[in-house]
Symmetry: C2
Subunit: 112 residues, 2 copies
């Protein structure tokens, strides 16, 4: 599979998909939008993610500049994830999509 980025460099949608594409990243943004969360909390909220993939995706979102990772020097370790300003703006842009799903829930789930 090609990376998602080589479709149309001039299209804003491609840039966005590069950031939140994949199975979990949009959900992740959605969880983070509610405020800073710890790794374990996210895990419990997103039923089904493996720790490996969760860590991976968080790093990628961090690399994209939408997520901030704060490690506290405690034992056992505490790591808090939160949205950067860029991330906040992304979650705002994601909201209409969530709303759309919500509004058409019945039609959509009947068509599965």
């Amino acid at each position: 599979m090609e990376t998602m980025g080589d479709v149309d460099q001039t299209c804003g949608m491609s840039l966005a998909i590069d950031v939140v594409g994949g199975k979990w990243k949009m959900h992740l943004m959605w969880v983070l939008a509610e405020g800073p969360v710890r790794f374990g909390q996210i895990r419990r909220k997103l039923d089904g993610v493996s720790e490996k993939v969760l860590a991976e995706n968080l790093r990628q979102l961090e690399a994209s500049g939408v997520v901030h990772r704060e490690l506290y020097a405690e034992v056992p370790p505490r790591v808090e994830y939160s949205l950067t300003p860029l991330g906040e703006s992304l979650s705002v842009a994601l909201k209409p999509l969530e709303d759309w799903g919500e509004e058409h829930r019945e039609v959509l789930s009947s068509r599965r």
Copy 2:
């Protein structure tokens, strides 16, 4: 891999991702948003899609109720794809994401 649908049934985002998840569907919506298009036209616009996958994805979008397929009994065959009202509302919900990518193009492409 699980299907995308089993993450959180109560979340509108999951429903939306079920519809436009994957490599091409969002791009597809974006192309269709400009008006009815023929199969071949879409192919040429989306650089890199194989005919197989394009046909597949169009059928899935049709099954989701966001795309309408109109076959004209001509030779050679002409098939036009367009958005249903539901599809229109989805493309509206997708717009902020496109805008977001557009607005932050520089930051995003530098971070690749």
